[in-house]
């Protein structure tokens, strides 16, 4: 957040090591939370369903991927498959009357377990070769889901062989989570908790070990870090986040578990989100999600808007084409201009204000 260090002195390590060291940072985080709480009172249905809720749910997934890939350096091309595992598990558990929160957590745990299994090759291989092993997850898991789900779900939309499942409406301690407003707040609360967890992880022993492995695995091992253990932990935690976000996507965003949504495209998008947002940066995950998930929508709307303002009758196909071109070019330009991602750009802004107004 905004950092103004001037005049701030810590007298104990305890305060110096707090999550937000500077009062202003604390205040701006609090301010942001207030905004997040106030927004829904003004948001329209469109903002809820098309922008806010997808942003919240996808961000959890990007956070997980960033822990796994950005911090621990384990590139995954199968994140969407882990999302699917979490979403389906949670849905099925909800059908079997498991309480909402437990279903979400168990969905995450199931995804973590599966992620762990696909993370095993990381003990021997790394980089692109490991990415390929996770790509296999993207092909194997949906297949497995479409075979297993019809066996477990007592009902199912299609009469036979159906892997599309509508979850029952979740309820939290007896209160039905129904309106967009409630969905927003539950997602927001879970995202905040997950974000705090992620921030705690990366500033402590675990996070340091991950970055150490990412930056120099030989040195990390020789310093006594059990590399295999921490790589697997990264897979498990990253997939856990994916699973939780999958559960929320199914419950609050799509309203249905449909295996077709969790495809390779989504995996690539999430990977793009963390690269563009900033590898190894929590706030980068937020920026990246906004860029990848929301920018195409913004582009589409504004191109249509501009086209009309200029008096052109443009077919939506042309607009979509331009949208793709602009988006693809933006990705490349951004990588050239700011290779460390939007988070670095943000950091520059912060640094500028660090000692403001006495920046000499």
């Amino acid at each position: 957040m905004i950092y103004r260090e001037t005049g701030v002195h810590h007298t104990t390590y305890r305060t110096d090591m707090a999550l937000f060291r500077v009062p202003l940072a604390r205040w701006s985080v609090a301010g942001l939370l207030v905004v997040a709480v106030v927004i829904p009172f003004f948001a329209t249905d469109y903002w809820f369903s098309a922008i806010l809720i997808p942003f919240l749910t996808f961000t959890i997934a990007t956070l997980g991927l960033n822990l796994m890939t950005g911090y621990a350096g384990q590139v995954s091309l199968g994140h969407a498959a882990f999302i699917a595992v979490g979403g389906y598990t949670a849905t099925i558990l909800l059908i079997y009357d498991i309480p909402f929160l437990a279903a979400v957590v168990l969905g995450g745990l199931m995804a973590a377990l599966v992620g762990l299994v696909f993370g095993i090759p990381s003990a021997r291989i790394k980089g692109l070769y490991l990415a390929m092993a996770t790509l296999a997850a993207q092909f194997v898991l949906p297949w497995a889901i479409s075979r297993v789900v019809p066996l477990v779900v007592p009902t199912g939309l299609a009469v036979a062989g159906g892997d599309t499942v509508y979850p029952p409406r979740p309820n939290l301690f007896g209160l039905e989570i129904d309106s967009l407003f409630e969905r927003y707040f539950v997602s927001l609360a879970i995202l905040v908790v997950m974000t705090v967890f992620a921030m705690n992880l990366v500033r402590t022993r675990v996070g340091r070990a991950w970055v150490a492995i990412r930056d120099h695995d030989v040195a990390a091992k020789i310093l006594g870090v059990n590399i295999t253990h921490y790589k697997l932990l990264a897979f498990a935690i990253g997939s856990f986040y994916a699973g939780v976000s999958g559960a929320l996507m199914v419950f609050f965003y799509y309203g249905v578990a449909h295996v077709g949504e969790f495809n390779l495209d989504l995996s690539l998008k999430l990977l793009g989100a963390i690269i563009i947002g900033g590898l190894g940066s929590i706030i980068g995950s937020f920026f990246g999600t906004a860029f990848i998930i929301l920018l195409p929508i913004f582009l589409n709307i504004s191109l249509t808007f501009l086209g009309n303002a200029a008096g052109f009758q443009v077919s939506s196909g042309i607009i979509a084409g331009i949208e793709n071109i602009v988006f693809g070019a933006l990705v490349v330009v951004l990588l050239i201009v700011e290779p460390l991602g939007l988070a670095k750009f943000w950091q520059n802004v912060k640094d500028y204000f660090r000692l403001w107004p006495f920046s000499y």
């Binding site: 590139v75 090759p121 021997r124 291989i125 980089g127 692109l128 070769y129 390929m132 092993a133 790509l135 296999a136 092909f139 194997v140 297949w143 030989v218 020789i222 390779l264 690539l268 990977l271 793009g272 690269i275 563009i276 590898l279 077919s315 196909g317 042309i318 979509a320 084409g321 331009i322 949208e323 793709n324 071109i325 602009v326 988006f327 693809g328 070019a329 933006l330 990705v331 490349v332 990588l335 050239i336 290779p339």
Partner: protein, 294 residues
């Protein structure tokens, strides 16, 4: 036996075409350690351009020439505008850049195909089915396979016998050393991207004959991935052999297993083979192992 033979031969031909996609990946990886995820989109654009030109009544040679011009220009500009400024960036950023380029190419394809829908690369090649004894083949596949092998031979020759090839081998061995020997990396990257564009042109035409000019060609880029990982990211021979191996294996296994277990083996098998290969030989069967030094 006939059954097996037919599966085998058809798998073989498909495999050569997989190898063709993989060749585009290997070329770029060898020179710059980038996994080019836009390889499918490049083929798509190439086949679309050729098909469009043919659709407008251009004779075959002119249509192909149009494709060559577009792909050379593409290779040159993409290196110039996107990859040269990215030199020195982490590999993952470079890969992401290829995803950006893929989106860019898709956009162009969408706009053009919306205006001029074309369906097929029609170069007047025979499309009849061919019967070699008990085995039925598509003549276009046979032609495609031969073209692919020819291309492999050509690229192999360039690598082995020409000055540029020598420089390319030097760069793939060690970039810094090659630089200090006065080899211009910029120049080589441009050559490689243009080369990859031309390989994409060939695979676009061949696949466009097989499955029509359609978005599916872009998806085919994925099929190249298990192939290169099995063969080793930096080995052309590996790409060829792994392509053939995967083509044959998936076809034969799917032919025998599908009726038994209810299908689905075909899209998986390459990835299963790849997973196992990654366990047994983490750097592919022809790839170079990365030895870590402290």
């Amino acid at each position: 036996m006939d059954f097996f033979l037919e599966l085998f031969v058809n798998g073989l031909l498909t495999g050569v075409l997989y190898a063709l996609i993989a060749l585009g990946l290997v070329l770029i990886y060898k020179a710059s350690s980038v996994l080019n995820l836009a390889v499918g989109e490049m083929a798509l654009l190439a086949s679309f351009v050729v098909a469009l030109a043919a659709n407008f009544g251009a004779p075959s040679w002119l249509a192909i020439l149009a494709g060559v011009v577009v792909m050379v220009a593409f290779g040159y500009f993409v290196e110039r505008l996107a990859f040269r400024p990215l030199i020195g960036q982490p590999v993952i950023s470079l890969i992401m850049a290829t995803v950006g380029i893929a989106l860019f190419l898709r956009g162009i394809y969408f706009i053009l195909s919306n205006k001029w829908p074309v369906y097929l690369v029609d170069l007047g090649l025979p499309v009849d089915s061919l019967n070699l004894g008990p085995v039925s083949l598509l003549s276009s596949s046979v032609v495609g396979g031969l073209v692919a092998l020819l291309l492999f031979g050509l690229v192999g020759y360039i690598y082995a016998r020409t000055r540029t090839g020598l420089a390319l081998r030097a760069v793939s061995d060690n970039q810094t050393v090659a630089l200090s020997l006065g080899i211009s990396i910029d120049h080589l990257w441009a050559v490689v991207w243009i080369g990859a564009g031309l390989v994409a042109l060939v695979s676009g035409i061949v696949w466009g004959q097989r499955i029509g000019v359609q978005f599916g060609i872009a998806i085919l880029g994925l099929k190249g991935l298990p192939v290169v990982f099995l063969g080793g990211l930096d080995s052309m021979v590996g790409a060829l052999l792994a392509g053939i191996f995967i083509g044959v294996a998936e076809n034969v296994v799917a032919g025998y297993l599908d009726p038994l277990i209810g299908g689905g083996t075909k899209e998986f098998l390459p990835f299963f083979i790849m997973l196992i290969a990654l366990w047994v030989r983490p750097y592919g069967f022809f790839g170079r192992e990365i030895i870590e030094r402290v």
